[in-house]
């Protein structure tokens, strides 16, 4: 079992998706829902074995599998996880369960297709984090776009078609340049193995060109300023579940890509261009936060807040210290919980009122006190309140930035003000005050199903905020190894 655990976690949800899809019409929707819950839960529980069986003392790949796939190009079905990818896999399987539960009653049309799309995506996303072969990675990375494209396009809002095509083409363009980079690396090194690329010597010009090819893929995915414009559109139009997965996991793939490819394969170019990436990250942190401040639409506001938070992640990565990278990783996981939770909160309101405009709300606390309490926690966590997971990552990154350049830290630190400003101001306008209108007066508080989703996420946010050690422990050895790779020269 241990030898095939990763394959099981990848393929079980995909098999589940096929089964769910075969239930067919909406008359059998209850069966489709139950099946998807069973498969997502089973996948999540199995993925926990990745944690319990994980050896924290080594930076080597664990749970590896390697089978020859296409001999003419020496493409292998090569899987394995280290401390960087393992937590992200568990985040993926955890959030898929949440998304399935969250879509339980909301999705009444083509339920089977909806649930199947998320299960397909789960398998493919785990595959992205577990692949150690560049082509296998690429297959999962691009394959994931198809279910997301369909999710936004079918169950999205009014402008969904524009949003989903923009999303697809934007990411496809970036990724294809990465594919060219992979083939170039293969041409030079005669292997698609990512681990062998890590130690393959490359000249500075090669590194620079490859860096931009990778950058085009990862920066679009993260997304970094100025290629972030697809995200607000995609988020606003996506159904709640789609937004949750998009913000909580897909964005993390860009960050993961930097750690798995750019930093170790192209260390010299990464250091050379670190300032470039850091400046873009700081622009995201400061400028995008200001943009978030003026948003009228709750989903758009959270989308911009995601971009700002991901700026922290890339800032932490390109400082090249253990602290910075760990901070960035913790920030990725924490942001997965928090942004997911906030999108669920907006989803809860949207299902009742069919509006995402901040000004249609006001005084929601009077009718939905339990919901207001949950949202308070997530809003505070988004603003980086100590004791919540949002604080840990931001604190580590700012600390690491301080050691390099005080101005990085000062500019990054503004997020504590701006983040609090836009999140809490939105919270105040939506939740507090007089009851705004008759529709708000008629609201009912969250159901048990919704409480379960938000409760699980709230627990994770608090656990990670109060006792982050288990998360830091698993990634430590791998991050240290990565830092030695990223600071060594390949010239």
């Amino acid at each position: 079992m241990r030898n095939y655990l990763l394959s099981v976690v990848i393929w079980l949800p995909i098999i589940g998706a096929l089964l769910v899809l075969s239930t067919g019409s909406d008359q059998r929707a209850p069966l489709a829902r139950k099946l998807s819950l069973i498969f997502s839960l089973a996948t999540f529980l199995l993925s926990l074995f990745l944690y319990s069986g994980f050896d924290v003392n080594t930076a080597d790949m664990q749970f590896t599998e390697k089978v020859l796939w296409v001999s003419t190009f020496s493409i292998y079905y090569h899987l394995g996880v280290d401390g960087i990818s393992m937590p992200l896999i568990i985040l993926t399987t955890f959030l898929t369960v949440i998304v399935v539960i969250a879509g339980w009653q909301v999705i009444q049309e083509k339920t089977a297709q909806y649930m199947a799309a998320f299960l397909f995506m789960e398998g493919l996303m785990v595959g992205v984090f577990a692949s150690l072969d560049a082509i296998l990675f690429y297959v999962f990375w691009e394959g994931m776009l198809i279910p997301m494209f369909v999710i936004i396009g079918i169950w999205g809002g009014s402008n969904r078609i524009y949003a989903t095509i923009k999303f697809f083409l934007y990411t496809l363009l970036g990724s294809l340049l990465m594919l060219v980079a992979f083939i170039y690396l293969y041409h030079q090194s005669d292997t698609f193995s990512i681990l062998q690329h890590h130690s393959f010597p490359l000249s500075m010009t090669e590194q620079m060109l490859l860096f931009f090819a990778f950058f085009s893929a990862f920066a679009v995915k993260v997304p970094m300023f100025p290629v972030h414009t697809w995200l607000p559109d995609a988020h606003v139009e996506a159904p709640t579940g789609g937004s949750v997965i998009l913000a909580a996991i897909m964005l993390k793939m860009g960050g993961y890509g930097f750690l798995r490819f750019s930093l170790p394969i192209l260390p010299d170019a990464s250091r050379e261009l670190a300032l470039f990436v850091i400046v873009l990250s700081l622009i995201a942190i400061v400028y995008i936060a200001l943009v978030a401040l003026v948003q009228e639409d709750m989903k758009k506001l959270i989308a911009y807040s995601s971009i700002a938070h991901m700026g922290f992640v890339t800032l932490g990565f390109f400082i090249f210290s253990v602290q910075g990278i760990e901070g960035g990783l913790v920030q990725m996981i924490s942001h997965g919980f928090i942004s997911g939770a906030l999108f669920l909160c907006v989803g809860v309101l949207y299902d009742r009122m069919h509006s995402r405009d901040i000004k249609s709300y006001g005084g929601v606390v009077n009718t939905m006190p339990v919901f207001a309490a949950f949202m308070m926690l997530f809003a505070m966590a988004n603003a980086g309140l100590p004791g919540t997971s949002g604080f840990v990552g931001e604190f580590l990154v700012i600390l690491a930035a301080f050691k390099v350049n005080i101005w990085y830290a000062v500019l990054a630190g503004t997020t504590l003000i701006f983040g609090a400003a836009y999140t809490l101001w939105m919270y105040k306008r939506v939740i507090f005050g007089e009851v705004a209108n008759e529709e708000v007066r008629g609201l009912t508080d969250i159901s048990q199903r919704e409480t379960l989703c938000l409760g699980l996420l709230a627990a994770m946010v608090l656990i990670m905020g109060i006792y982050p050690y288990p998360f830091l422990e698993v990634m430590h050895a791998s991050v240290e190894h990565l830092v030695t790779q990223a600071t060594a020269s390949k010239l």
């Binding site: 796939w69 190009f73 082509i135 999962f140 396009g153 083409l169 496809l172 294809l176 060219v180 170039y184």
Partner: protein, 482 residues
């Protein structure tokens, strides 16, 4: 010299069966179903004979005019299978349009023989004969709907331009003959190798004419004008035929002529093919965006796919040729599925060839919608479909010969291409259907084969290794024969 009949047995069998079909059509009343059955048997038998006799080494017969190697055997099997599927897919469609006739099957079988001769040609004249046999059958198949103005116009256009292309081929061959004194591809190869130099203008002239005619036959820009009109105007069953197997035969003569005969001129034809490939990929993909007719869109998509295939050819390495072969094999099955869907959706007196006809298909027929989704993503080259691996192998081949810029150009236009494939998915999945609910009825065998055809886009992934190896072997059998 001992006469060995074994290598030409498949061609001989199908030719005899075609004659039999003609006889049955004339003498048996209501013999059309028998004709259909005989056609199926002929194609199955042809494929089986090629399979049974799968060459381990190259054999030449008929005074070295006809060559039987792994390359030709594999292509012949695929050509027979493709033609078989074409007839199965279009059975109902043809019945409604009075195309279900003995002549139609006989023409199809003769076309198959022509293609098989092309793949096995080891002599300029044999190659030309095969090509003409194929072309004449295709012209007639396009014009088969006598009362359709569109089809007649398409056939005229096809005939005139096809004749022009053939003439250029003949002219190019005659120049090469003048220089080498032989029509035999092997002799030509040796003689050309001795006089290959950038200053040999006559040789360049011959090469240009041959290349232009090849570009005509596979429909590469700027010799593509006939493709959209013919694909659009012809009855869809004929389009289905034209867009699949002949592409493989076209690829075969490219390999026989450029790789087999004129490989020593690679330094000359490489740049010419670069121009053809870049233009085909860019113009094919750009113009496809503006199409509202599904058949025309697929026609332009075919042009761009031929451009991608040429990328592998121009690399000029064994690796590149086998990538091009793989690309062609993948493409013909994608094209077969794509036009197969149009045939499937068409009813009596109603052609479902406008993109609008696909609107909201997911509501009424989720299974067919899924098949279209798979085919479109495969054509766009998005993993995890097999179309991605086709693009991967050709791009890998050109990066191998240090033409990374070309790879970047190809990749950028692949994104442009993705747009119109996505638009089809959008129409099928995201748009609401028109008021009337269309229940699509199709015979079970067609449903089955079309489903397998589309699902193969993902189900073949685990078999990628063996398929690629087969392509490498096939190309090796051509390249190493010398």
């Amino acid at each position: 010299m001992e006469f060995n009949i074994q290598p030409i047995l498949p061609e001989a069998f199908i030719t005899l069966m075609a004659c039999l079909v003609l006889m049955v059509d004339v003498y048996v009343r209501q013999g059309r179903s028998i004709c259909y059955l005989l056609t199926i048997i002929a194609l199955l038998g042809g494929a089986y004979l090629c399979w049974y006799d799968l060459a381990t080494e190259s054999i030449t017969v008929l005074n070295g005019m006809f060559i039987d190697d792994i390359f030709s055997d594999i292509l012949k099997i695929v050509i027979c299978v493709l033609a078989l599927l074409v007839f199965v897919y279009s059975r109902e469609y043809s019945k409604f349009r009075e195309l279900f006739q003995g002549e139609y099957f006989a023409l199809g079988l003769f076309a198959v023989v022509g293609m098989m001769v092309m793949t096995s040609a080891n002599h300029f004249l044999v190659l030309y004969l095969g090509l003409e046999l194929l072309s004449l059958c295709l012209y007639t198949m396009v014009a088969f709907q006598r009362d359709s103005v569109l089809a007649t116009e398409a056939a005229m256009k096809y005939f005139v331009l096809g004749a022009l292309g053939s003439a250029m081929l003949l002219y190019g061959m005659s120049i090469i003959y003048g220089l080498t004194g032989s029509l035999d591809i092997e002799t030509v190869r040796i003689s050309v190798a001795a006089q290959a130099s950038p200053d040999n203008l006559a040789l360049i002239l011959g090469l240009v004419f041959i290349l232009v005619s090849l570009a005509f036959k596979i429909g590469a820009v700027p010799f593509h004008m006939w493709v959209p009109d013919v694909y659009h105007g012809a009855p869809t069953s004929s389009t289905l035929f034209i867009s699949t197997a002949p592409k493989l035969a076209g690829f075969a003569i490219i390999v026989r002529l450029l790789v087999g005969g004129l490989e020593d001129l690679h330094f000359m034809w490489r740049d010419m093919v670069v121009i053809l490939a870049v233009l085909s990929i860019s113009i094919g993909n750009l113009i496809a965006i503006a199409q509202t007719n599904f058949k025309r869109m697929l026609a332009y998509s075919a042009i761009s796919h031929m451009g991608f295939m040429l990328l592998g050819v121009l690399a000029g390495t064994e690796n590149g040729y086998s990538a091009a072969l793989f690309y062609s094999l993948v493409y013909v099955f994608m094209g077969l599925g794509g036009f197969g869907i149009i045939v499937l959706l068409s009813r009596a007196g109603y052609e479902a060839d406008e993109l609008e006809d696909l609107r909201g298909l997911n509501k009424t027929n989720p299974w067919y919608a899924l098949l279209i989704l798979l085919l479109m993503f495969s054509m766009a080259g998005v993993p995890p479909t097999i179309g991605f691996f086709a693009k991967l192998s050709v791009i890998q081949a050109i990066i191998d010969v240090d033409m990374t810029w070309l790879a970047v150009v190809a990749v950028l236009f692949a994104v442009v291409g993705a747009f119109y494939y996505l638009r089809v998915v959008k129409l099928v999945y995201f748009d609401s259907s028109p008021d009337e609910v269309r229940i699509i009825e199709a015979p079970a065998d067609m449903r089955f084969f079309l489903s397998v055809n589309a699902l193969a886009m993902v189900l073949l992934l685990p078999l990628m290794g063996p398929i690629q190896e087969l392509c490498t072997q096939a190309i090796a059998s051509v390249v190493n024969a010398f």
